[in-house]
């Protein structure tokens, strides 16, 4: 009986620690250094950035492989600074390593190189080429916390995500028209 109580107490303490950590990370993320740096990157790369909605976006690709008793699951992660208007979208690939944020040339999407776009209400945007083949899907979340090495930033972007959702719908309408 004593061991059960100790076990429950340990679990409760771990839960409280996790909850406190998540709350602290969320508070930090409202105007975190990563958020500011990502906006600065977008500002550096894209002219007239004030006309765009800038958000932190991620992309995940999950696949299964293997045979017999050995199954391998592979999840790939990509990270972007996304800047969007009703007519165009820039995705700036980001890389996080040792506290540094690196970036490469932005990828530009508009009616000229897209055949279709689907914008879902939770900040999920899928882009298709002229042959209606999927190019990629990005996910914009209100809350991003440093959970592990594959979730490397504390960025809270509630208002920006709402704005992105609205604009991405208009963007999709423009592409699909």
């Amino acid at each position: 009986m004593t061991n059960i109580i100790i076990g429950i107490a340990v679990l409760a303490v771990l839960f409280v620690i996790m909850y406190i950590k998540i709350t602290i990370d969320e508070r930090k993320g409202i105007n975190s250094p990563e958020k500011q740096r990502i906006y600065a990157i977008a500002q550096e790369v894209i002219p007239d950035i004030e006309n765009y909605c800038v958000v932190y976006a991620t992309r995940e690709d999950f696949s299964l492989s293997g045979s017999g008793g050995a199954i391998t699951t592979t999840t790939k992660y990509w990270y972007y600074a996304a800047a969007i208007t009703c007519e165009e979208l820039f995705l700036i690939p980001l890389s996080f390593e040792d506290g540094e944020i690196s970036y490469s040339e932005p990828i530009h999407f508009d009616k000229d190189n897209l055949g279709m776009a689907k914008a879902k209400k939770h900040g999920y945007l899928t882009l298709y080429d002229k042959d209606k083949k999927e190019i990629l899907s990005i996910d914009v979340s209100e809350s991003n916390t440093k959970d592990d090495e594959y979730h490397p930033v504390n960025i809270q972007q509630k208002e920006e995500t709402k704005e992105f959702i609205e604009i991405s719908k208009e963007f999709a309408d423009e592409i699909n028209s």
Binding site: A40, E44, T74, E97, D98, E100, I101, S102, Y103, S104
Partner: protein, 144 residues
């Protein structure tokens, strides 16, 4: 892959992670030691036959090879050039490599994560290299 291709200017490079190699050797040595000590204490050998001795020597040699296997990676390196990479004396251009991703692979048979540079040609095992991604970013990306 061509043996003698011009990849342009050398940008950065990453060498073997000696601390990781030493750590892995130490952990393997520790594991083997625990197994041997536990085995000898619970079941000490009574007599040693010639065949048993030969078998024992083969086992010992295999175990030594396994313990010190990470030393084979002491000379691992990767060089990042303007137009491609050189990995352990082999060169590839970016045209051949295609899209490059960094993969971390964890399995239930090891405590350690294996790291790969995933390309269209093959996945380069960069587990024993130090700060590969950092030098890759330094070479090809801009840093804020």
């Amino acid at each position: 892959m061509k043996l003698d291709i011009d990849l342009g200017k050398k940008l950065t490079h990453a060498n073997a992670n000696i601390q990781l190699i030493i750590l892995k050797i130490s952990l393997r040595f520790l594991l083997v030691s625990i197994i041997i000590i536990a085995g000898l204490r619970s079941n000490p050998p009574a007599t040693i036959t010639p065949n048993g001795a030969i078998f024992g020597i083969l086992i010992i040699l295999s175990v030594i090879l396994w313990i010190f296997f990470p030393l084979f990676h002491l000379n691992d390196y990767i060089i990042f050039y303007e137009n491609g990479i050189e990995f352990n004396k082999q060169k590839w251009s970016f045209d051949e490599l295609g899209e490059i991703n960094f993969l971390n692979v964890k399995t239930n048979t090891s405590f350690f994560t294996r790291k790969y540079l995933e390309t269209d040609v093959k996945n380069f095992n960069i587990t024993y290299l130090k700060d590969t991604k950092k030098y890759f970013n330094k070479a090809y990306l801009k840093t804020n």
